[in-house]
């Protein structure tokens, strides 16, 4: 048990740091995307740790899948970002308020 907590703690810490990174960041969308990647990373870490701890391969398979999904997603996200930049010439998060209620 102790081993599990010791091994999962850094990954949960990583997850929280990335959440705070998204939260506290008001300006840079790249940082947000990076934080998002970090989240994926922490989740994968967790899965891997769990699969090792439980001696089950499913977690690793999942983490591989997450890896591919994260790669695809970041590529799409960056593509959207590029298109957005092409139109608006600015990528500051604060100024993205076209979807006001």
């Amino acid at each position: 048990m102790l081993v599990f907590i010791n091994s999962t703690n850094p990954s949960i810490l990583l997850f929280l740091i990335s959440v705070l990174g998204i939260f506290l960041n008001q300006k840079n969308i790249l940082v947000m995307l990076m934080s998002l990647e970090m989240m994926f990373l922490s989740v994968s870490f967790n899965l891997i740790f769990a699969s090792i701890y439980l001696d089950d391969v499913t977690g690793q398979i999942f983490s591989l899948l997450i890896l591919t999904v994260a790669a695809a997603e970041s590529s799409i996200g960056l593509a959207i970002l590029v298109i957005y930049y092409r139109i608006r010439n600015v990528i500051t998060v604060e100024l993205m308020h076209l979807m006001k209620g």
């Binding site: 959440v19 947000m32 998060v93 993205m96 076209l98 979807m99 209620g101």
Partner: protein
């Protein structure tokens, strides 16, 4: 035959009302007059059969309401009391019908008028012949309605509308008391039939209603409620304000309402319920106090009125006070006798006043009359007879009943049993005799004898009315002279068995014998007081006393009394306007259109857009804010899943206040 007495006026009313436009003035007049006269003759027969021969009649038509133990049927009871009332009502009503044929001949709505008069008579007959309280209530309300219609007959006049509404609403206060009385009677006796109630009432004389730990004697409660009803209908002090205002109707209406029928309904109710209120000393005392106060107050107010009809209206109010306190000292038969006599001379006075008004082209102010004795000698003599009868001049009608009431009051004062209320009745009653004589003769002087103040044209045009109007007057004049003498032995003679069981007087409360043996000075007292009143009226009107009367105290007193002691103004200021304001400001503006609307449709229609705007403002367009909500939502979701309800409540409250 007994039912025909009732149905004939209804028939006449229906014919004159619904077919008036086909029958025309003449046709509807003939039909209604014939109906009511037939009814009068039949009620004479009924009086002979029931009153003189002693054959009480009970007629049951059909069941009306039967729910559980409550059984009410349309049924009629003809006993001595009823037939006396029947004769009074139908005689006065027939004469008024005959009189109004000419008085209203130029009115375009004569058929309607006749119809209303007939329906009034019909409801009054229903009232007096009913044998249970609910059916009596039908007549009671019907009479109120008919009085509304009649006072409001000239419906284009604002004053007539106002006084009709006033009459109806003020009467309704009394009706509320009466309906409470009916409910209480049903609660106590489990029945509303007169015969059941009256035969059971001695058993219930010690019955107490437990009202939240307070024990109220049942019969007293019923008696008080009935008395409230009588206060409204009979215009006793407190709810008397409608009566003088009801003079806005045509004069025959005033004669019918104030002489014979409507105002006597309250007194009739008290007399009818004598087996019940006789067992409650409290109610009797209340009757004495209110009755004598009414007699005194109305007598005093009548002195300073300048409207011909209003003087007579106050005199009616005063005489009704006499009747009520006669009931209070347990002399129901004397009260009934006074009622019958009063009907004759008050109808005479009203109809003569109508004749004067008719002669002077609708001038009602006594200050603009005078010296009509030369132009209306017959009306003058009839009015003199009426005034003498009203003042209780010996050997006229009023003498036999009114002086006997006063003698009985003297007995109540001079015995050693119940001094307090008896003294009250005796003093106030005797004082109002003086006022009665004074205002009657003030009226005679101002109208007929003093030099005239009327315009030359109206004096020249004034004339005696034709035979159609004079016949009822003459008949009533004879009635005012002879009815008292003829009826005395029958109604209030010593040991008369006319009333049989229709009136109950406990032997403890009966003072008939004593009244015959009070000292001679006390017997002279009412006559002397009324003679004093007549003499005073003569002195004031023939000499130049008014020169000495211009001091401020006298003038302010005159002003006070002439404004009816400011009853109307006080009522308006302390009851009517506050209630109206309450109705408008609190019930209507604050509750109906305010609070309830706010909690209901109006409030929601305001609240939901506000909330929706608030919610849509949450969507700021900032990604980080959206993220915040997403994370917050996940936290809440987790809280729900892990069942952290107190935390959830805390956060939702926090969120609400944010």
């Amino acid at each position: 035959m007994y039912l025909l007495i009732l149905w004939l006026p209804l028939l006449g009313s229906i014919f004159a009302g619904f077919l008036g436009r086909f029958l025309g003035h003449k046709g509807s007049s003939i039909i209604s007059v014939i109906c009511v006269f037939l009814s009068m003759f039949l009620s004479f027969v009924a009086f002979y059969e029931v009153g003189l021969m002693g054959l009480n009649q009970y007629i049951t038509l059909s069941p009306w309401i039967e729910v559980g133990i409550l059984k009410i049927s349309w049924s009629f009871l003809f006993d001595s009391l009823t037939v006396t009332m029947l004769v009074v009502i139908t005689v006065i009503s027939s004469l008024v019908h005959l009189y109004s044929l000419e008085y209203m001949q130029n009115d375009p709505h004569l058929p309607r008028f006749m119809s209303f008069l007939e329906i009034f008579t019909f409801f009054m007959l229903i009232l007096v012949t009913a044998d249970n309280l609910v059916q009596m209530f039908v007549g009671w309300e019907g009479v109120g309605l008919a009085s509304y219609l009649l006072i409001n007959f000239w419906f284009t006049r604002l004053a007539a509308n106002q006084s009709a509404i006033k009459a109806l609403v003020v009467n309704r206060i009394g009706d509320f008391g009466l309906s409470l009385g009916i409910l209480t009677v049903f609660y106590i006796f489990q029945s509303v039939d007169y015969l059941t109630i009256f035969s059971l009432s001695p058993l219930f004389s010690v019955y107490y209603l437990n009202f939240g730990g307070i024990y109220i004697p049942g019969l007293t409660l019923v008696g008080i409620f009935l008395f409230i009803g009588a206060v409204g209908k009979s215009a006793q002090l407190g709810l008397h304000t409608w009566l003088p205002d009801a003079m806005e109707g045509p004069t025959p209406v005033s004669a019918l309402i104030h002489a014979a029928t409507m105002v006597t309904a309250g007194v009739f109710l008290l007399i009818r319920f004598s087996p019940l209120i006789e067992f409650s000393c409290t109610v009797l005392n209340v009757l004495v106090i209110f009755g004598s106060l009414t007699a005194f107050f109305a007598g005093m107010s009548g002195v300073f009125q300048n409207d011909l009809k209003r003087v007579i209206a106050y005199s009616t109010c005063s005489q009704l006070g006499y009747m009520v306190f006669a009931c209070g000292i347990s002399c129901y038969n004397v009260s009934m006798f006074h009622l019958a006599n009063h009907a004759f001379f008050k109808a005479l006075l009203f109809l003569s006043a109508g004749s004067v008004i008719h002669a002077l082209a609708n001038e009602q102010d006594m200050r603009r009359m005078g010296s009509l004795v030369k132009f209306l000698p017959l009306t003058y003599s009839l009015m003199l007879v009426g005034s003498f009868a009203l003042a209780g001049f010996p050997f006229l009608t009023g003498f036999y009943s009114k002086d006997f009431i006063l003698e009985l009051a003297q007995v109540a004062l001079n015995n050693n049993l119940q001094s307090m209320q008896g003294a009250f009745a005796c003093w106030l009653g005797n004082l109002s005799v003086f006022f009665t004589a004074f205002y009657s003769f003030r009226l005679i002087y101002l109208t007929f004898i003093n030099s005239t103040n009327a315009t030359r044209q109206s004096i020249l045009k004034s004339h005696e009315p034709s035979l159609l109007m004079l016949t009822p007057l003459v008949i009533l004049g004879f009635g005012s002279i002879f009815i008292g003498y003829l009826g005395k032995d029958l109604f209030i003679g010593l040991g008369t068995d006319f009333w049989k069981s229709s009136i109950v007087i406990l032997p403890l409360n009966s003072y008939f014998i004593e009244a015959e043996w009070i000292s001679i000075n006390l017997k002279w007292l009412p006559f002397l007081l009324s003679a004093l009143g007549i003499v005073l009226a003569t002195i004031i009107n023939t000499s130049k006393t008014h020169l000495y009367l211009y001091n401020t105290f006298y003038r302010s007193l005159c002003f006070l009394v002439s404004k009816k002691w400011y009853w109307d103004i006080l009522y308006n200021r302390f009851f009517v306007y506050p209630i109206l304001n309450f109705g408008y400001l609190v019930s209507f503006k604050n509750l109906d259109r305010g609070f309830i609307e706010l909690m209901g449709p109006y409030g929601f229609s305001k609240l939901i857009p506000t909330w929706s705007q608030l919610l849509s403002k949450l969507q700021t367009g900032q990604l980080s804010h959206y993220l915040f909500f997403v994370v917050l939502g996940i936290c809440l979701f987790l809280m729900i899943i892990f069942n952290q309800t107190p935390l959830l409540v805390f956060y939702s409250v926090l969120l609400f206040f944010i």
